[in-house]
């Protein structure tokens, strides 16, 4: 009941101005406020964390931060050692490592600042509780609460640490790279510098070689994502309708035949497609032997052929998947809608476009959005089928490369890390925009309450 009594807000400002000596002192000696307010073990733990942060900063962190703005100066020096008859290398600065340590230190510092705020608030909170004669949790009770009302801390800290270490820090690190000269170009792989938004300007510039490639890859990526998503969607739906229509026998058999192709790992089936569609591959050889063609069909050699081929093979990959996803939903379409339409004399095509498709679009909008963004990022199909080829001389991007596969080539094969990072960021921007716009649209659509 006493909880309803109005208490001053627990903020850092309030803690520093209204707190008692221990709370204020804990702005410098962390944990002392908590310890002074009867949570001794917790206070000591916080203090130990502060000590270890200070030790870390003195031993490594401060140095790492100070190197961050310059990213290192000393070049690797090669000297000829007469006595041993070999070149000796004096270790120079390695900008990547400096950047990585710098970013890591920034994250550690951010964590430390969060801890500072939390312990200050906690101390002030305890102070207020003591003042208001509220019970204070003992350390044992705190531990117990980790399995009860603070269960999220127990369950989520390990996953969150993993995400931080292997997703957020690397991502931040890559974003930093976009603003540097880190690239095989001009041999900047060991020692590099910040160069502002130069890389972005280069990539977005229409007239430069890189810019031209970027825009053509971008257009193709969007065209690809559009066709890959909607053709798969509509054809998959038609297939599902064909299998599930009243007159079809052996529904289970047909469904199994199509599902079988999903069950085979995608990379296996794609690599097989890749080999059988080569100029000397099975399809061309068999067609030639049958006398149907004179010269091998240029499945992956001609840009237009390659683009159409990947879209068609993606249909092979994707249609069964769509079929499975939509089968259940199709059966949920109210039967009276169909009957009413038939009464009014609508044919199967009219029914499909006027009832089935709108209904499905309405229900599966989120699925469509995820599959669209998934297709923009569809690495496997392109990389395994064409590897981006055909590639024109002097280009790093092939004619079927998507932004993601180009990104992969730029970083892993070419080692143009900075340009790769720029492409990654731009891909993210495009995905974020599509996701936002379509979500917005689908919400607007929902508000019409079309099928309710």
């Amino acid at each position: 009941m006493s909880k309803t009594k109005i208490r001053p807000a627990v903020t850092v400002g309030a803690a520093l101005t209204h707190g008692d000596w221990a709370t204020r002192l804990s702005a410098i000696v962390m944990g002392i406020g908590i310890a002074a307010h009867r949570q001794i073990v917790k206070g000591i733990l916080v203090f130990l964390l502060e000590i270890s942060y200070i030790w870390f900063m003195i031993s490594a962190g401060a140095n790492a931060l100070s190197m961050l703005p310059g990213l290192g100066e000393r070049e690797q020096v090669k000297t000829w050692n007469e006595a041993k008859q070999i070149y000796e290398y004096a270790q120079g600065d390695n900008s990547v490592i400096i950047l990585l340590y710098g970013v890591a230190t920034l994250f550690v510092t951010a964590g430390f600042l969060t801890l500072w705020v939390l312990q200050l608030k906690q101390s002030y909170n305890l102070e207020l509780k003591i003042y208001g004669h509220h019970p204070i949790r003992t350390f044992r009770e705190d531990l117990k609460s980790l399995l009860n009302d603070k269960l999220q801390i127990t369950l989520m800290s390990v996953p969150v640490i993993f995400i931080l270490l292997f997703n957020i820090v690397p991502l931040f690190f890559m974003i930093c790279m976009a603003f540097t000269t880190y690239s095989k170009e001009n041999d900047k792989l060991i020692l590099f510098d910040w160069n502002g938004i130069t890389n972005f300007l280069r990539v977005l510039n229409f007239s430069g070689n890189l810019g031209k490639q970027f825009w053509s890859v971008l257009v193709w990526t969007l065209v690809w994502a559009f066709f890959a998503t909607f053709l798969n969607y509509i054809l998959g739906m038609i297939l599902a309708l064909l299998i599930n229509r009243k007159g079809t026998r052996g529904k289970g058999f047909f469904r199994f035949m199509f599902i079988l192709s999903i069950a085979v790992p995608q990379f296996v089936s794609l690599m097989i497609m890749h080999t059988i569609l080569q100029p000397q591959g099975a399809v061309n050889v068999i067609l030639t032997n049958l006398g149907l063609i004179n010269s091998p069909l240029p499945f992956f050699q001609n840009a237009t052929w390659a683009r159409i081929t990947v879209i068609i093979i993606n249909l092979w990959v994707g249609i069964p998947y769509t079929m499975m996803q939509v089968t259940g939903i199709l059966q949920n379409i109210p039967a009276d809608l169909y009957e009413a339409a038939k009464m009014d004399g609508a044919g199967p095509i009219t029914i499909f476009f006027k009832i089935t498709l709108p209904y499905m679009l309405y229900v599966t909008a989120p699925y469509l959005i995820t599959s669209f963004t998934g297709n923009i990022n569809n690495f496997n199909v392109i990389y395994l089928l064409t590897g981006g080829s055909p590639t024109y001389v002097g280009d790093t991007a092939g004619q079927t490369d998507l932004l993601v596969t180009w990104l992969y080539k730029l970083t892993v094969d070419q080692q143009y890390y900075n340009i790769g990072a720029v492409i990654g960021i731009l891909t993210f921007v495009i995905l974020a925009i599509t996701a936002l716009v379509t979500y917005h649209k689908s919400f607007a659509y929902k508000n019409e309450e079309a099928f309710q």
Binding site: F173, V264, I272, I276, A282, V285, I286
Partner: protein
């Protein structure tokens, strides 16, 4: 009466016509979908080596491809790759299942300040191309001394399970279907959140637990991007996917093409079985935890 009958027979005729057409179409389509799979199976038993073939059916059949896959350990050590992948898959599937279940439980059942920010962050993070940060991850693993020797397998386990905490949507959706009233009843009886999680929610969530386990178990078998970046040239620690990918590269394809097919068949069968199981549990999971 009779006019009705004539109309009926006409409609019936039209129906059978459509039926025949539909069935013919479906048969053709399923052939298109199954042919590549049959092709691989046939190739895996083909006696002629190399990727150049002149007919759909092999001229003679053999089991040598399978035997070579398991006995020729000098160039591409398939059994070792299989062992590596199995180790990675088992460990990372344990870790990621734990991650996915804990995070989605927290998102679904608990209310705390960081919940909404976490969900937003997860959405933003998943919009970045997955391997954009691959190079950075490699450097981090290098700093942690995980890029040489057997530690590569540890690195792979970490990489495969690290993102698991972000893929909580399906399991969260499942937990959302369990009525809150069950939790509340347990709370009144004095159960802690931990007890509710382990004793009530988990036993009710069998389909989604199995689904999560299977998805994370399959991942290392079918991914080769991450594995390639982390293993680099350490062929001792290749996973099956890199091995199969290598068999189709220029250096190996003439010798290993049919073995590739054999390997593909061997990998596909268990994965296909797991996948079909998974599908069952997925649909079961979608239909909710508590029925009726």
């Amino acid at each position: 009466m009779s006019r009705n009958n004539i109309a009926n027979t006409k409609a019936l005729k039209k129906n059978t016509c459509v039926n025949v057409l539909v069935h013919a179409l479906l048969i053709v389509l399923s052939l298109i979908w199954v042919l590549p799979i049959i092709w691989v199976i046939l190739t895996s038993f083909r006696a002629e080596q190399g990727s150049y073939v002149t007919s759909f059916f092999p001229k003679s059949y053999t089991l040598d491809n399978y035997i070579k896959l398991f006995t020729d350990r000098n160039v591409l050590n398939f059994p070792k790759m299989f062992k590596n992948t199995l180790i990675v898959a088992v460990c990372s599937c344990g870790l990621s299942t734990f991650f996915v279940l804990s995070v989605s439980y927290c998102m679904s059942r608990l209310r705390f300040k960081a919940r909404k920010p976490y969900m937003n962050m997860a959405m933003i993070l998943t919009l970045f191309p997955g391997f954009m940060s691959m190079v950075a991850v490699y450097y981090i693993l290098k700093v942690l001394n995980l890029t040489e020797g057997p530690m590569i397998l540890v690195a792979l386990i970490l990489v495969y399970s690290s993102g698991a905490g972000l893929n909580f949507y399906i399991a969260k959706g499942f937990f959302d279907t369990i009525p809150m009233s069950i939790d509340e009843a347990a709370k009144i009886d004095g159960a802690t959140q931990w007890q509710i999680f382990t004793k009530i929610t988990m036993p009710l969530s069998k389909p989604i637990i199995i689904y999560t386990t299977l998805t994370s178990f399959i991942a290392p078998w079918i991914d080769f991007i991450f594995a390639k970046v982390i293993c680099r040239a350490n062929s001792d620690y290749f996973t099956v996917a890199i091995g199969l990918w290598n068999m189709l590269q220029k250096e190996y394809i003439t010798q290993w093409y049919t073995c590739f097919a054999a390997g593909a068949v061997l990998i596909s069968i268990p994965i296909a079985i797991l996948y079909l199981c998974m599908q069952r549990f997925y649909t079961e999971g979608l239909s909710g935890a508590v029925k009726g």
